[in-house]
Symmetry: C2
Subunit: 206 residues, 2 copies
DNA sequence: CCACGATTGTGAACTTATTCACAATATGCG
DNA sequence: CGCATATTGTGAATAAGTTCACAATCGTGG
């Protein structure tokens, strides 16, 4: 397959959300122009994004909402559910476990780990917080697809090393550090302070 | 000023974080190559990013860590502090108010708003949660620089309309919806489900 | 069953972003 | 001082991403 850009993947994920909304409203077909309007892009961009993966529309008519949604789910690998573990039972971790949106989209949090003896053993949304030292053993028995790192910055690289060592191939990181991982592991970082700084830049430059 | 790309701004923010770390370790000078290594980019990219704003280095020597940090703070508009309000006293909102990292970087949360009468009036990290209906009046008296939207998706556009109407020019949005705002208002969205879906895509394509 | 309006799919043109590559220095040392 | 070494700053080359523009094709309605 040709190299697909990050921005294309992000847009596909957006299109999918719109398609689900259109489907919920009973709309059966949709044009690239309409999808573009919703996503703040152009119709050519929508068609180009899709064209990397095939041709899913009908000329003169547009796309079937449900078919295109199914196709994008396929492309994004969303036909299956994913096992997700959370490392760090802190404030952000707490918000994430309780958030129903992830499960709705097929991401199932199956375990939470922490280092703090006061937190280990407590129940979080039906899950018992486990000691982070059990990660390797647990993952050997029941591998996970994705790990979310919500520990303090100082602990993050350490935690990630153990995750990688345990065979985790995808990591979503909230700690404000640049993580080093082997080439076959993919890391996405959410850096909220950085987002605020881009806002600060925008405010100062107009 | 020439149009600066989003990616350049994000990288500058990263460089700044690294510079602060180097400063904390007592390092006084640094080369573009070293910054690049840390940030996962190339030395040419680092120099190009900086060159949009001036020339801050010494040939043969590199950059003064503290001078460059000060310069980037200038560029990003981080010489001042920012007033930030939070709309939505839920789980994510709770994590955000308690997070010390924002204040450390000059972003001061000055008020929290919610719609729920059970939450209005309660204390959150020293701040009393106010009724969202007071937003307009409050902001007329004490303008804010940035608003963080952490309400449910259904309420987000409504809240944003009121923020815009009250003169807010920068918004950080956590609700998984595309927000419509006038051209002079900048919105950044953090969409965690979308991040998970890009991971899902990566996992399914190798 | 043909002509028309709508809309896709996609090369080609264009625009933006990244990397290359090298002259222009700064430092240090014999 | 003059030469060797390091590293910047930047125009030019390349690569990547977006938009244009139009032939291909579908459904409809006369
Ligand atoms: N809270 C926010 O709004 C916010 C915003 C931006 C970034 N972040 C980042 O997200 C991360 C988590 O933030 P938080 O506010 O939830 O912090 P927190 O302090 O509330 O929680 C961190 C948790 O990690 C646990 N922990 C520490 N070391 C560990 C280890 N080695 N293994 C497993 N668990 C360990 C701690 O016991 C604690 O329970 C931090 O890196 C923070 O910088 C948080
Ligand atoms: N919690 C997470 O981990 C997570 C992850 C991804 C995205 N999000 C998104 O972030 C947003 C907030 O999530 P949450 O988990 O904190 O939700 P939550 O339900 O815990 O909190 C939402 C808060 O907003 C308040 N609210 C509702 N309507 C309002 C209005 N019109 N004005 C002011 N306040 C109003 C509610 O009373 C509630 O206190 C949601 O859009 C959610 O989809 C959350």
């Amino acid at each position: 397959m040709r190299k697909i850009s990050e921005s294309t993947v992000r847009r596909l994920s957006l299109y999918l959300r719109f398609l689900e909304q259109f489907a919920a409203h009973g709309q059966t077909t949709i044009s690239s122009a309409e999808l573009a309007r919703r996503g703040g892009t152009t119709s050519a961009q929508v068609r180009k994004d899709l064209s990397f993966f095939g041709s899913f529309g009908k000329r003169g008519l547009g796309y079937s909402v449900t078919e295109l949604a199914a196709k994008i789910r396929d492309i994004l690998g969303l036909r299956r559910t994913y096992r997700v573990i959370l490392v760090g039972a802190g404030r952000i971790g707490g918000a994430l476990v309780q958030y129903p949106g992830f499960r709705q989209r097929g991401f199932h949090v199956t375990a939470i780990y922490d280092k703090d003896p006061h937190k280990v053993g407590s129940r979080w949304n039906g899950l018992v917080v486990r000691d982070v030292r059990h990660i390797e053993a647990d993952l050997a028995k029941e591998p996970t697809d994705i790990a979310i790192v919500v520990t303090p910055a100082e602990a993050a690289q350490d935690v990630v090393d153990r995750l990688v060592h345990s065979g985790v191939k995808a990591i979503l990181n909230f700690a404000p550090v640049q993580l080093a991982v082997p080439a076959d592991v993919v890391v996405k970082s959410v850096n909220m302070a950085l987002e605020l700084e881009t806002l600060s830049f925008s405010l100062s430059n107009r």
